[in-house]
């Protein structure tokens, strides 16, 4: 009997749990996802891409994610630079979308958008990504924005070990990622390196009986490292990228050379004190060189027509953020300050060999940015939270450009009613001017555009989330109102000017997610944006269906991206269907092999380029082969 008694508890455990240890581990991994710690529900309309999602999708670079980011169309500019479009609006660099790695803001004011350099960033060192829409960046310090993409790096505490990832495609692209992570009681480090050469489909353009190649390949190198010692956290990041400039800037899109060469390096130091005080210091150095050659001419604003167009931007900035959080029962108060000094310069060289025209122009200036901000949240009851945040920015320049002072405010409510969560936000903010808007490269000699004002944005957004055990419904409605919108006037001002009209924009999003279990789910998202005018330069309506599936040693992911028809520059674009699927085979816990097909049927979203006679597919029809090994 005693023997039985010894065995029976084992039997009991076997019956009730031990056979489920694998399931428990899966559940634990799901529950312990870092995104559950880092997400800030108060910060806006939130989309999360967990480490598990990114792995199943076999995400390679940021553009794989931007392609399917609700609320935007991902496309590329004439010169092959990554750009986002809001539905129904033309492609433009959105300075109001800011990109972060952990707490570091990658955006540079010189060009208004971080995507110019970081848009094709390899993501193997990123654990998860949070996208906040309708946000004022009070919660994240730094400069204001309405959309924040926060990329969190992998944690040495979770990743201890090393990894190598290799992938390539049927065009001959190659990529290598490698990282190492280690930790002990008080010290940890993570170091990552990447190099790649990505090839793209080449197009041609015929002009005056001559054929011109439109290439858009890129090569890049990315390094990231962090060290954590007790309450100190130091990060180093560096990304260099060189790319063909596709159609270029020529009048007839007939490029005969040139490239876009960029580099951004940064250091970021964070010290966390025991009394809820956080101090951050950072240094950035940015170089962005664009060289265009076109024998049939590049229009240079008031400089006439040239064949060689070479413009370089250089930024270096130092910044500091100090925050203190007070938490008392139902109240939370965050007070913070942000200061930045940014030196920026632009050098332009323009040549017209036939007429022997040579022009060189340059400028430099310094921006001083001071900001004070606060956020208060009050839990009225366990189901009701009120949020209020304010921010006052003072922007001063060393010379020429007048100082400005801007106020940002947000009011929010998060309410739970049973399974329903309601989030409501009212935001009053602005988009800071980019230096290229203040000093237009197309206006030589360069001079400061003193009349230009910041663009002011009012946003109202309402989110309904309804959760059941396996289902999640989300409905978002947002209304934007833009005052002092900035546009390029090539005829009169030959530069950027403010619009006197108030622009309205309406946005609707509906998504439904069904979780079959922890590793199998289907997500459908529909979104619609309308700028309320008669001309629409990009699709108004998008539908996205994503299927995440796991069986035995296989991960399967598939997405279908539908964009409605649109017409621009007298070119009609039919509705597009971009089908992307990936399959990953886990040979062992440490070795996996994958294949990913993108734009499988060649019917994906196409971009119209003014001056080119047909729309060009944003995503190539490609097959990627992927190998990952952990050791």
């Amino acid at each position: 009997m005693k023997q039985y008694l010894k065995i029976l508890p084992l039997l009991g455990i076997s019956l009730f749990g031990e056979e489920n240890l694998n399931l428990l581990l899966n559940k634990y991994e799901y529950e312990a996802e870092l995104s559950k710690i880092t997400k800030k529900e108060e910060a806006g309309v939130l989309d999360i891409y967990t480490s598990h999602d990114l792995q199943m999708m076999q995400i390679k670079t940021l553009e794989d994610l931007l392609r399917i980011l609700p609320g935007f169309h991902y496309t590329r500019q004439y010169d092959n630079l990554t750009v986002l479009q809001k539905p129904s609006i033309s492609s433009r660099q959105l300075s109001s979308v800011r990109l972060y790695v952990n707490d570091h803001d990658l955006s540079s004011n010189s060009f208004g958008s971080s995507f110019l350099i970081w848009g094709k960033l390899p993501l193997e060192y990123i654990d998860h990504i949070e996208v906040y829409k309708g946000a004022a960046s009070v919660e994240f310090g730094n400069e204001t924005s309405t959309v924040i993409i926060k990329m969190y790096t992998k944690s040495p505490q979770r990743e201890e070990g090393s990894k190598i990832r290799l992938y390539g495609d049927n065009y001959g692209s190659k990529n290598v990622d490698a990282y190492i992570a280690s930790k002990n009681d008080s010290f940890s480090y993570f170091a990552y390196a990447n190099t790649n050469a990505i090839k793209r489909r080449s197009y041609t353009n015929e002009f005056n009986g001559k054929e011109y190649a439109l290439d858009s390949g890129i090569t890049g190198n990315n390094i990231y490292a962090n060290i954590k010692y007790e309450d100190w956290f130091a990060e180093l990041g560096s990304y260099t990228k060189k790319g063909d400039n596709f159609l270029g800037l020529g009048i007839y899109a007939t490029p005969s050379g040139g490239d876009v060469d960029s580099a951004h390096s940064y250091l970021h130091l964070t010290k966390t004190f025991s009394s809820n005080i956080k101090l951050q210091l950072s240094y950035d150095n940015v170089h962005f060189q664009r060289e265009y050659k076109d024998e049939n001419g590049i229009y240079l604003g008031n400089g006439g027509v040239v064949q060689n167009y070479n413009v370089g931007f250089d930024d270096n900035l130092i910044a500091a953020t100090l925050e203190k959080k007070f938490i008392y029962e139902k109240h939370m108060l965050l007070l913070g300050s942000f200061v930045k000094k940014e030196n920026f310069s632009e050098d332009g060289e323009f040549i017209e060999p036939i007429s022997n025209y040579y022009y060189k122009s340059s400028y430099s200036n310094t921006q001083y940015f001071y900001s004070l901000y606060g956020e208060y949240s009050y839990d009225y009851d366990p189901n009701t939270r009120f949020i209020a945040s304010v921010k006052e920015d003072y922007i001063k320049y060393r010379k020429y450009i007048p100082s400005t002072q801007e106020f940002t405010a947000k009011l929010g409510l998060i309410k739970h009613i049973g399974r329903l969560q309601i989030k409501a936000f009212l935001t009053k903010t602005y988009a800071p001017l980019a230096y290229y808007q203040l000093y237009t490269p197309d206006n030589v000699p360069f001079y400061s555009n003193k009349e230009l004002k910041n663009m002011h944005i009012n946003i109202g957004s309402l989110v309904f989330l309804y959760k059941k055990q396996y289902d999640l419904f989300k409905f978002v409605v947002a209304k934007n109102q833009v005052e002092d919108a900035i546009y390029f006037d090539p005829v009169y001002a030959k530069g950027y000017v403010n619009s006197s009209k108030v622009m309205d924009y309406n946005y609707f999003e509906f998504s439904y997610q069904h979780n079959f279990d922890l590793k199998n789910k289907i997500v459908t998202t529909f979104y619609y944006g309308d700028k309320k005018t008669t001309s629409y330069e990009s699709p108004k309506f998008t539908a996205l269906v994503q299927l995440f599936s796991h069986y035995d040693k296989y991960d399967f992911y598939s997405e279908v991206l539908y964009n409605s028809a649109y017409s621009y520059a007298n070119i009609d674009c039919d509705p597009s269907y971009d089908v992307t699927s990936s399959l990953k085979y886990h040979y062992s816990k440490d070795l996996s092999l994958g294949i990913r097909g993108e734009n499988i049927f060649g019917t994906g979203y196409k971009q119209v380029y003014d001056g080119y006679d047909s729309a060009i597919s944003v995503t190539d029809r490609k097959v990627w082969f992927n190998m990952e090994y952990l050791f």
């Binding site: 039985y4 008694l5 010894k6 065995i7 029976l8 508890p9 084992l10 039997l11 009991g12 455990i13 076997s14 019956l15 009730f16 749990g17 031990e18 056979e19 240890l21 428990l24 581990l25 559940k27 634990y28 991994e29 529950e31 312990a32 480490s51 992998k154 505490q157 979770r158 990743e159 201890e160 070990g161 990894k163 930790k183 002990n184 009681d185 816990k589 440490d590 952990l630």
Partner: protein
């Protein structure tokens, strides 16, 4: 027989109760390593880990390692206890002086459970069949 039913009820209520998954995992591990004990005495080198065991049925936290049946180590410390030792990091599993039977830790981006065959044998522990996949001969 009453004892048997009691233990079965204990295990079932433990795993059905609304406790964290981490706690459930440790409950399975503790009872699989020490199946004959109705009340397992646990000592944690990191006191913050005691929260995992505090609401666990069939388990009690003790103040001294010498009184413990199961020792959870989060650091390499001098340990004289004859208790079954379990660690929270891969590096500690490599420490010969600790002689740990296994560990539950994050590594390579995923949570891992690992038992060492030799150390299990030294403690005369036989894990059930369904847990054999977590046993390694060497690291």
């Amino acid at each position: 027989m009453k004892k048997l039913l009691l233990i079965l009820l204990l295990a079932s209520s433990l795993l059905a109760s609304d406790v964290t998954t981490e706690r459930k995992i440790y409950a399975v591990i503790v009872h699989a390593l020490l199946p004959e004990l109705q009340k397992v005495k646990v000592w944690c080198s990191d006191r913050s880990k005691e929260r995992i065991f505090q609401a666990m049925q069939g388990v009690v936290c003790v103040a001294s390692q010498n009184d413990a049946d199961f020792v959870l180590l989060s650091e390499n410390t001098d340990i004289n206890s004859q208790a079954v030792k379990f660690v929270t990091s891969y590096k500690l599993l490599l420490e010969k002086n600790l002689d740990a039977v296994g560990g539950f830790f994050w590594q390579k981006g995923r949570p891992n459970i690992l038992f060492l065959r030799k150390n299990l044998q030294d403690h005369h522990i036989v894990l059930p069949q369904s847990m054999q996949e977590y046993i390694e001969d060497e690291l």
